[in-house]
């Protein structure tokens, strides 16, 4: 083979691999992206039941009910709207009433959010950025949260 032909083989195979990769990525983007929504988003956009989303907001004070079998119910609120969430399993260390939380799962036809994972990405001084933004938009951003989130001591838990 001449130098030119060899180079063509090289470039051709490179393009082929790239094309496969692009196809894989587009396919994966279609299937596996999860949108973040606040409770108000869920209400306003009429997120259909069964669509996987991330629901973020504050755990409403006094809303946490623990049933048998490690099942937990609580309400996620952004001050304007609230969504009831059901989760079965062990809650993260940092899950607390009045604190930010992100739940991943889907609404069931009855309007209950079935979470299969709960992220509480914060410590006592920090809350998830998505949640903070959502709260700001709904006008329920508490000033003390803003101050706390601004202090440099905070490190969020993964």
């Amino acid at each position: 083979m001449t130098r030119k032909q060899r180079r063509l083989v090289l470039i051709g195979s490179g393009m082929a691999v790239l094309a496969v990769a692009v196809a894989l990525m587009l396919n994966a983007f279609r299937d596996s992206i999860v949108f973040f929504n606040s409770p108000s988003d869920v209400v306003e956009k009429h997120v259909p039941a069964g669509t996987r989303i991330r629901l973020g907001g504050l755990v409403k004070n006094g809303s946490v009910v623990r049933d048998s079998n490690l099942s937990v119910r609580f309400e996620v609120t952004d001050g304007k709207n609230g969504i009831a969430v059901n989760y079965q399993g062990v809650l993260p260390d940092l899950f607390r009433e009045g604190q930010g939380v992100v739940a991943e799962g889907a609404l069931d036809p009855a309007g209950m959010f079935k979470a299969d994972s709960i992220l509480a990405k914060h410590d006592e001084t920090y809350m998830p950025k998505e949640v903070a933004d959502a709260l700001k938009r709904s006008g329920h951003w508490k000033d003390d949260y803003g101050r706390q989130a601004g202090t440099p001591a905070g490190a969020g838990a993964k």
């Binding site: 999860v34 399993g89 062990v90 991943e104 990405k121 601004g150 440099p152 001591a153 490190a155």
Partner: protein
């Protein structure tokens, strides 16, 4: 006083970096050997001053000087000494100090060991190294000064984030930084070659040890971080496709590609321009990783503080260095001469295949990591791209790489014999098929692809053994002769085999632990049993325990085999830290061979019951054992005489050059 000394030393280091970054360049332009030779001593002096600054910060931590704000915010006099020391880099400012310390340390190493380098190349490389250092010195001094004082010193510090109070913090960040920053040497050499407009195979020989060393550190740094996350986060995952993890995986992938393309360049003089580009990209990805983790665009345990100024500053560093390097590349790369022809089926061809898939896999991780950020910046929509995306893209790109991997070392340079290689891999393929069948028969459940993954892993491992067997002729020669050959093999051949074998081991661990593990989540009262795999775990009660700066609520669990044999006790706990009003989960691990039982506690309930998560993770330790093997492979290869920095040329070449008579 000590803090001020540190601050002052850092400023001096900046000054030295500026000198080191300009004078040698002037020297190369005016052909002035004195100006060029300034580079090495200033690199050493710069390192000395940065080391002084770092030591000053360390002293402030050791003596708990809470008048220094950084110490006040991240340390506590009650913490054990080891955590007071590791707190140095358990925060933003200190971790940047660690970054520049390692950066200037590498610069000093080049200055000391680079005696055999051409003067111009060395001057250029050290100057580029100094630009990077100057940018980061400036970043620390302007936005992240760790030496800032508090006018009225508090009596006690605020403690380190409890999640970071772990021996892992002593190893994970320094090793990761050794990897990230180690790639800066390859970057500097690449820029130096472009500035000079000349490059040859020897360039690859000078650069490869640095790449190899950085790659080794990054490998164990990532693996260590993965093990740390595994035992500390309480739910037994070892890789989360979290953006900060991806930030370390991308330079690893690009660095692995660089390692392999540098072999082609060194041996065959081919792929020069590509290798230069990879060297630039690898360090660029390290910088992007630093940006992602340090700028606060992502929130995770690695994000210490959100200060927009810092993000903008790092972004500027990023743009200048990556943009500048790529622009220089576009301008100067066409000047470099290509060389070395090879057929598509050859050792070079296999290494090109490796590079193609590694960089594409790296690109898929890059897009998956940055797409959510770009989308949020452009449209405001918040999305998360998680494990499903990466499993669907990274997996299919990595598996072909693993399948082809054993063929590479068995092929000849220039023109390879695919059929011959396939014949020699027949035994490995049979073993792989056997493993696949066994996995299929023995393990009910789990994804259908899992036995296939196990088969590929066995093929890779058996392929690495085949390579060594073929080279030593162990099955054809008498044992003693084969042993002689084994000793005589270049260390780099052993290194390749070890590293490839290690990758197979890691893959096997990942497949087994994710596909065939089991999980039980339950609420237990005292005396309850929980069965998993072939073990029975009995809850014996809760008790309290006081630590130096925390209080533990410990659950005591007795582990039996199903047939009643007592195996041991597991004591997971919930640890509360009063200074930060924070609770962490301390999981208990019980190692059985290379498998592990994993037990973590949830919130204790009012009635004295506990919620527990119990996992059986088969072969999970193989994941990290494989990384250790890759490290060992790198170390063997690094000890190869050919690559030793400053090693004289091979005796044969010298003999050939000696005039006759």
């Amino acid at each position: 006083m000590i803090a001020e000394l540190g601050h002052y030393a850092l400023m001096l280091a900046l000054g030295l970096a500026l000198i080191q970054g300009t004078m040698p360049i002037v020297g190369t332009r005016t052909n002035d050997p004195v100006l060029m030779s300034i580079a090495a001593p200033t690199a050493l002096a710069q390192f000395a001053f940065v080391a002084m600054a770092f030591t000053a910060l360390a002293i402030c931590y050791v003596i708990s000087d809470f008048s220094v704000e950084n110490v006040y915010q991240n340390s506590n006099s009650q913490m054990p000494l080891i955590y007071r020391l590791t707190s140095i880099w358990g925060n933003h400012e200190g971790s940047m100090m660690l970054w520049v310390s390692i950066l200037t340390f590498f610069g000093a190493l080049v200055a000391v060991f680079g005696n055999n380098l051409p003067v111009v190349l060395k001057a250029h490389a050290l100057a580029v190294q100094a630009w990077i250092a100057a940018a980061f010195h400036l970043f620390i001094l302007m936005t992240s000064n760790p030496f800032v004082r508090i006018p009225q010193a508090p009596f006690e510090g605020q403690d380190l984030n409890p999640i970071l109070q772990d021996p892992g913090l002593a190893f994970h960040p320094p090793l990761l930084y050794l990897g990230y920053v180690g790639f800066s040497i390859a970057f500097s050499f690449a820029i130096a070659a472009l500035l000079e407009g000349r490059i040859d195979a020897a360039w690859a020989r000078w650069v490869r040890p640095w790449v190899l060393g950085a790659w080794m550190c990054l490998t164990v740094g990532i693996a260590g971080g993965s093990y740390w996350a595994y035992y500390t986060l309480g739910w037994g995952g070892f890789w989360f496709w979290d953006p900060v993890e991806n930030a370390s995986l991308m330079p690893w992938l690009a660095g692995t590609a660089l390692l392999h393309s540098a072999v082609v360049m060194e041996k065959r003089g081919a792929l020069k321009i590509w290798t230069i580009l990879l060297a630039i990209l690898t360090f660029s990805l390290s910088l992007i990783g630093t940006f992602l983790v340090r700028s606060g665009v992502l929130t995770s345990v690695h994000t210490f503080a959100n200060d927009p100024m810092r993000g903008v500053f790092i972004l500027a560093i990023l743009v200048v260095f990556i943009g500048g390097a790529l622009a220089l590349y576009g301008w100067r790369a066409p000047l470099l001469k290509q060389g070395g022809l090879f057929a598509p089926i050859s050792r070079e061809g296999a290494l090109v295949f490796n590079n193609l898939f590694l960089t594409t896999a790296c690109a898929s991780v890059f897009i998956g990591t940055l797409y959510p950020l770009a989308l949020e910046a452009l449209t405001g929509a918040k999305i998360s791209v998680g494990a499903p995306f990466f499993n669907a893209t990274f997996g299919p790109l990595f598996i072909p790489l693993m399948v082809v991997m054993p063929f590479g070392p068995l092929m000849g340079w220039k023109r390879g014999d695919l059929l011959g290689a396939a014949q020699r891999l027949l035994v490995a393929a049979i073993l792989a098929a056997f493993a696949m069948a066994a996995a299929f028969a023995l393990e009910q459940g789990g994804p259908v692809l899992a036995p296939f993954g196990a088969g590929v892993a066995v093929f890779v491992m058996a392929g690495a053994v085949t390579d060594i067997a073929e080279r030593t002729l162990v099955l054809r020669l008498p044992f003693r002769a084969a042993l002689q050959r084994a000793i005589g093999l270049p260390r780099s051949a052993w290194g390749t085999a070890f590293a490839h074998f290690g990758l197979g081991v890691t893959l096997l661990g990942i497949v087994a632990a994710t596909a065939w593990g089991s999980e039980r989540i339950a609420e237990m009262k005292v005396g309850d049993n929980l069965d998993i795999a072939h073990y029975r775990v009995t809850f014996a009660g809760l008790f309290g325990r006081q630590g130096p700066n925390y209080h533990d609520v410990v659950g005591r669990f007795i582990v039996h085999r199903m047939n009643g044999d007592l195996i041991g006790v597991m004591e997971p706990s919930r640890r509360s830290f009063p200074t930060r009003n924070m609770t962490t989960t301390e999981a208990a691990l019980m190692t059985r061979g290379v498998s592990q039982l994993y037990l973590s506690l949830g919130d204790p309930m009012q009635n004295g019951n506990v919620a527990v998560r119990l996992y059986f993770k088969p072969q999970v330790l193989l994941i990290w054992l494989g990384a250790a093997l890759m490290f060992a492979g790198g170390a063997l290869s690094l000890s190869d005489r050919r690559l030793r920095v400053g090693a004289p040329q091979p005796a044969k070449a010298k003999a050939a050059l000696r005039p006759a008579g």
